[in-house]
């Protein structure tokens, strides 16, 4: 066989392999975007309305591969419930409060959208980066979103996060990097500032994490005043309890790479409690009630899979973690 013929045979074999595999992938992959029909149907679905009439959980059902294909799903607020209804909305990270929802990661490059209490998509927004955290304030006025901004390759330096708070009514967004930050009453700024994991208090007040020079500070901010002040260190992804007295958060385990333990900090006494969950959790947790939190944890197998389950653990350091809901992530508790 001549060289040219040999080369042609190899190329033909390789191309056949590639085309066949792409065809196989196309057959098993679901449509790329939320189908308008299923979204519209959700608005009037009687089963969905029934769940929404009682305290419920809005969460994402993992798609097992592409995070943008996670489905916004609703279930009664009850451990281990088998009742759940898909809304037809799809994204990588979601939250819902006071009749307003946010979906971050409609596409892999970071676009997101807001949605209403009938699960109909509203205002869309662009925030370039990998979707990470999002929240809606208890009064439904503000929505926050955090994305990872990266270079184009996995070996490029310059990793950072970007966090913005959007006015749900006007659509106006403010980047936290434009806020004036103080520490011990002094102006505090550095080019390596990174903000992530907003949790809302009342009015335009919020808490978040400020990362700089190896520290992860808990900050208390005010969106209207565009200010924030440093409260304490070693707090990531805070989540404020409904009564506004405690934050549940993840604390990096010293010396370990990307390993976190869940803690609760009492903001009145600054007393800190490690929770009974000993596995590493990388999530912004949600308060199920005044004494329990819920968080997503990847199925650790064996063997580990891409599925995520919701777990719960008491917020006072007692007890033990328990599975709350299988095949669920990104929880938001709604109590009418």
């Amino acid at each position: 066989m001549s060289r040219g013929a040999l080369f042609a045979v190899i190329c033909a074999a390789v191309i056949v392999l590639g085309v066949a595999y792409v065809g196989y992938a196309a057959l098993r992959t679901r449509p790329a975007t939320s189908s308008p029909a299923s979204v519209a149907a959700a608005a009037t679905d009687p089963q969905l309305r029934a769940i929404l009439a009682q305290p419920h959980l809005v969460f994402l059902q993992p798609s097992g591969g592409d995070p943008t294909q996670n489905v916004v799903t609703v279930a009664p607020l009850q451990q281990g419930t088998t009742t759940r209804v898909e809304t037809g909305l799809r994204c990588a990270r979601a939250y819902f409060a006071a009749g307003h929802g946010i979906c971050l990661g409609r596409t892999l490059t970071g676009a997101g959208f807001l949605f209403d209490d009938r699960f109909q998509p509203g205002r869309a927004f662009d925030q370039a980066g990998l979707p990470s955290r999002d929240r809606v304030s208890p009064d439904g006025r503000y929505a926050s979103s955090t994305v990872f901004v990266t270079g184009d390759g996995y070996s490029t330096p310059g990793f950072s996060t970007r966090t913005q708070i959007t006015d749900v009514q006007t659509g106006e967004s403010v980047d936290l990097e434009r806020f004036t930050v103080t520490r011990d009453g002094q102006r505090f700024s550095s080019p390596d500032f990174n903000f992530w994991g907003v949790t809302f208090a009342d009015g335009s007040r919020f808490y978040a994490t400020l990362g700089t020079a190896g520290h992860t500070y808990l900050i208390e901010g005010d969106r209207a005043a565009r200010t924030a002040r440093v409260l304490t260190d070693e707090i990531e992804c805070p989540s404020l309890s409904a009564d506004g007295t405690r934050v549940a958060y993840k604390r990096a385990i010293p010396g370990a790479q990307r390993q976190w333990r869940l803690h609760v900090l009492d903001l009145r006494t600054m007393a800190d409690t490690a929770l009974a969950e000993t596995r590493s959790v990388d999530d912004q947790v949600e308060w199920l009630d005044a004494s329990h939190i819920a968080y997503g944890l990847q199925d650790q197998g064996p063997p580990p899979t891409l599925d995520v389950n919701l777990w719960t653990v008491p917020a006072d350091g007692s007890g033990a973690p328990a599975m709350y809901l299988a095949h669920a992530s990104s929880p938001a508790v709604v109590r009418g």
Partner: protein, 417 residues
């Protein structure tokens, strides 16, 4: 008509024939090596485009973490790279060693599929992929140089780098097209990436001819011949100046981030800067190679670093807006076109054929390692003392190193270009 060229480059008749060809004609072997790189780059850039998404979502890790792994690994493979270069020189087995490197990286694309969501195996596959890159670069450049008449080294490397960069431009487009059509089908991307890599390997295996140097194979395997290269004054200068220049070179990501801070355009446009730089590099690679063959490779190399210095100066100037961004990207692309391939061409002209892979590995590793150190230092200075200070510091270092390179090149001017 190129069969003749392939058979005997050193024969006078071929050289005469070669001179009559238009300046942009390079040997078919160089074009085929360029095609190998083109397909391999399509393959690897497809992966680097989607890997952050894949890792962050499936493994919930940050790119920072992987960046650290990658950085540490670059250092650890330095010696291995040199060893691969020396192995290639033994008996002139450049093609075989390059094939091993390209083949390893191709197989790793299927390895990604096999690793699934398991952290350990996935990192192992990524590291093996990097190893493949470490192995193949120097013997491939040696093959390019051994397939080119000495007076056309610049254009040959220019053609190769242009094809290489074209692959890097096409890869991400294919990856994004596939992701849009088949959301979540990362496995399909891995398989298609493997197919491109396999075609690249096939070009190398079937169409590229190995270039054995005339000298007999050295019996013993030792570091000495590689170190003996350092006794060639002009080559020693190039290694030292290359390392010094590498130290004063800032990673692309920092340049783009600095531009973004200065001009305050949305981060959405950051990927566009990479694309624009690549387009400029692609357009200028061959002309820069030609210029290097005509004017002297040293001059063009120095010119490339002057272009980089211009980028630093632009970032320090009070001007801003689209002019600053476009000017910087243009200069940055020109810097790549005038340094990457030209450095290899210049070094190839200085190295005896029987130790060309090792010599190219030595200089490539030196520049890469120094660049890594430089980027870490730049990031640290930026964080602690601010962007302005970091830029001034690096501009000073760059001017100094470029000056030393220029003076050194004048002093060691020999029979070489």
């Amino acid at each position: 008509m190129y069969t003749q060229l392939r058979e005997s480059l050193r024969s006078a008749s071929t050289e005469r024939q070669e001179r009559r060809l238009p300046w942009w004609r390079v040997s078919r072997n160089v074009v085929n090596l360029g095609l190998t790189s083109f397909f391999t780059d399509v393959s690897s850039e497809m992966i680097s485009t989607v890997l952050p998404l894949y890792l962050v979502f499936t493994l919930r890790m940050t790119t920072l973490q992987l960046g650290v792994v990658d950085g540490v690994y670059t250092g650890a493979t330095a010696l291995m790279r040199l060893a691969a270069g020396m192995a290639a020189d033994r008996g002139g087995r450049h093609k075989e060693v390059a094939l091993a490197g390209y083949g390893l990286s191709a197989i790793c694309k299927l390895g990604l599929l096999a690793a699934g969501g398991a952290f350990g195996p996935l990192v192992a596959v990524i590291l093996a992929d990097r190893t493949g890159k470490g192995i193949r670069t120097a013997p491939r450049d040696a093959l390019i140089s051994l397939s080119s008449p000495p007076e056309r080294l610049g254009v040959s490397f220019g053609v190769h780098r242009a094809l290489d960069t074209a692959g890097a431009l096409v890869g991400p487009l294919i990856a994004f097209a596939l992701l849009t059509l088949l959301p979540g089908a990362f496995d399909a991307i891995f398989v298609v990436s493997f197919c491109f890599a396999a075609i690249g390997v096939a070009v190398l295996l079937v169409l590229v001819e190995g270039r054995r140097s005339d000298r007999p194979a050295r019996p013993a395997f030792s570091l000495r011949p590689a170190l003996a290269l350092l006794e060639v004054p002009r080559f020693r200068l190039l290694v030292m100046a290359g390392a010094g220049l590498g130290l004063a070179t800032v990673a692309d990501a920092f340049i783009y981030l600095a531009l973004q801070r200065r001009v305050d355009f949305p981060p959405t446009f950051l990927p566009l800067l990479y694309v624009l730089t690549s387009v400029v590099y692609l357009a200028l690679a061959v002309p820069a190679g030609r210029l290097a063959d005509r004017l002297g490779r040293g001059k063009v190399l120095v010119g490339g670093y002057v272009a980089l210095a211009a980028v630093y100066v632009a970032l320090l100037l009070p001007a801003d807006g689209p002019v600053l961004v476009l000017g910087s990207v243009l200069a940055f692309g020109a810097y790549y076109a005038c340094t990457d391939g030209v450095m290899s061409a210049l070094a190839s002209g200085l190295l005896p054929a029987e130790s060309r892979s090792a010599g190219l590995a030595l200089i490539g590793t030196g520049v890469a390692l120094a660049g890594l150190v430089g980027s870490v230092v730049f990031g640290a200075v930026w964080t602690t003392a601010g962007l302005q200070t970091a830029l001034v510091l690096f501009l000073g270092g760059l001017v100094l190193a470029t000056g030393l390179l220029g003076v050194g090149l004048l002093r060691t001017r020999a029979a070489h270009l």
